[in-house]
Symmetry: C2
Subunit: 391 residues, 2 copies
């Protein structure tokens, strides 16, 4: 394969991303350098990532950081260690960008981990570690993300990824054009930096995200996406950042409706919530990663039990065989979800209350247990066609 | 995309696989039907999956099932339930094959789960469940795998998959030809039935399997496989069956050497062991899934500490910063590994004993912490070139 020899090892897309990130880092931290040069006290003004500064924007359906900021001053003895940690992390990231590297957050922890020897005010030699635990370096990295206004992926910091996709769609990733309809029985594993993907063309009417990889495999193999013109995605459990960003872009840029299919239990609802709203403690990510218009397709409590207007998809016998009794942790989780702003809609309150009354949950596999083609040709198409989803 | 319309939903490869599996099932269980028709006692003669019938074949380096079998008789009251479970499972699998379905093991559990009502010898109505837990249906499925001599993948039973691959290689999966060197920054997610993959052509000198997905992402992005003519694979932790089978086929059919890169700890060694030998409790899989010639590239204890002949890759300071103290569970695990036949080689005994003496472990990320290009251009190539691996 002669092409391998003439081809660059690293893609041109990455090189452009590096330059952009370096410029933004240099600008943000250049301010600190300048203040030192003119004899001012070095300090950082960083948006607060606290719960009290997290706002649920009802109109946009997003969790956002509020306007509060805090100062981190080098000359304040309570803040000087954190200040130095922040600058150490910024330096490591900048160097990695310049050296064509792709660190992970674990690498960043190791790269910065060392002991600093110094003399205290009485002349004694002391030692202090930069950090001991990854949660310290991770916290500093998050500060830098909000301070510079760059997600870590934009700084070419990589992480493990579980998300997969197939569908009638072409994308450009790195220097390659990839046809997501030509993956055979396998799938395309989404890259850790989905903002660098270019959508070339798409022939699909909606996106179906399934929680479970094994169900994704079945739908793929049965030709579901081909027959129903879907982009088929799995998050393989709790979605990672790349899968969330990829789904958001499909919705925002290609205007494709997003349907999410999980088990009928609080864990499944939470997966939906992470796609739709994001995580409460990391609200700064949500503006880029959340998909407020994502719809919960099922499996819903009315799918199982029906209601005054709807016939259930399960018979009495199937319910007896398939339903799993909810555990205490499920009940507790469901009660917590009732407190979230975005679960305070009529349909969600009803859904959660039926769950609490019946104390029953159901796996998607109970539906494929009724036959794979029941899932692909009855359940999913009917749910979409009758708009039987929860928002 | 007009092609989508003329194209079959399901691949021709799958159709052929279905026919083969149906024939083998019909042949194996046809014997039982015949015995009923001629008035003989229905029974199954099944290879024993017990530890005492598991043999380590030193020459081939494989765990194999021994020659012992057991009988399961319908007319023996202690065995009749198991006998009926086995036939129920065989029926479900056969029907799924005929109906073009792709069940998972969880589906199979749901499909078979129901209550049977009958009258006992005193005429009272009794109820008995076919099975209550998935471990019951899984055990029966394993019996069928060894009885029919078909792995479940060959019966088109799917499962979740984590393995990914990139490299200068073309494969055929389903009806598509896929170029694994054109995956952009993403990767090809290996299908659950890797026996159905056809290798078209390959331009590589070795296979590097990395335990950690995030390290895979880094090596991929840095162009490692292109520069060193490697097929790059991640198992994303404990390898699943599909990844193991795929690696085995690369070794057996394409004669590519397999190098496995994990953290330096008993968990990493166990991952290596699963690739090389398979799992002790599921030895019947090993004959198809294990890669006896797989080599443990590192990270090894001598990489960290050196020995009389070798300079370590880490300095004294790096060791101080990067090494993690082993936990009690690590020590216990290491002592267990010493009892496995295939760890009783000179190099492995030394490796494990150094670990037990130093009580130290190291993550791969400690090496990328030294710089990504240290890993790609110094550590891995030197280890391979000097044959500094453990078998």
């Amino acid at each position: 394969m002669s092409e391998g020899h003439v081809r660059k090892l690293v893609s041109s897309v990455d090189i452009r991303a590096r330059i952009k990130a370096c410029e933004k880092l240099a600008e943000a931290f250049g301010k600190v350098v300048k203040s030192v040069l003119v004899g001012e006290e070095p300090r950082l003004i960083i948006p607060k990532r606290t719960l009290s500064n997290t706002i649920y924007d009802k109109e946009r359906g997003l969790l956002l950081l509020g306007p509060s900021t805090f100062e981190r001053n080098f000359l304040d003895v309570r803040e000087s260690k954190k200040f130095m940690q922040t600058l150490l992390m910024a330096k490591i990231i900048y160097e990695a960008l310049m050296n064509n590297e792709y660190p992970t957050i674990r690498d960043l922890f190791y790269r910065g981990k060392h002991s600093i020897r110094y003399r205290d005010h009485k002349g004694r030699i002391e030692e202090e570690n930069t950090w001991d635990e990854q949660k310290e370096s991770d916290a500093v990295l998050r500060d830098i993300e909000v301070y510079v206004n760059l997600l870590r992926e934009e700084m070419l910091i990589l992480s493990k990824e579980k998300g997969k996709v197939v569908g009638d769609m072409r994308i450009k990733s790195g220097d390659d054009i990839i046809d997501l309809s030509k993956m055979g029985h396998g799938a395309y594993a989404i890259e850790p930096t989905p903002d660098l993907i270019e959508f070339i063309d798409v022939n699909a009417e909606f996106v179906l995200v399934v929680e479970k990889d094994a169900v994704f495999q079945q739908l793929h193999r049965a030709g579901f996406w081909r027959k129903y013109k879907a982009i088929l995605i799995t998050s393989a459990g709790q979605p990672d950042r790349a899968t969330r960003r990829f789904v958001r872009r499909l919705n925002e840029e290609l205007r494709l409706p997003i349907y999410i299919l999980t088990d009928a239990d609080p864990y499944g609802w939470y997966i939906y919530s992470v796609f739709k709203i994001g995580s409460i403690t990391l609200s700064y990510e949500s503006e880029r990663l959340a998909t407020p218009k994502a719809k919960f397709l099922g499996v819903s409590m009315t799918d199982i039990f029906g209601d005054e207007k709807k016939k259930p998809y399960l018979s009495e016998t199937e319910r007896r065989n398939f339903i799993i009794r909810a555990k205490k942790a499920d009940i507790k989780r469901a009660q917590e979800l009732l407190n979230y702003e975005w679960f305070k809609t009529e349909k969600w309150v009803k859904e959660i209350n039926v769950f609490l009354a019946k104390q029953s949950k159901l796996e998607i596999e109970a539906l494929t247990g009724k036959g794979l083609y029941f899932l692909t040709d009855t359940y999913i198409p009917t749910k979409i066609q009758t708009q039987d989803f929860i928002e």
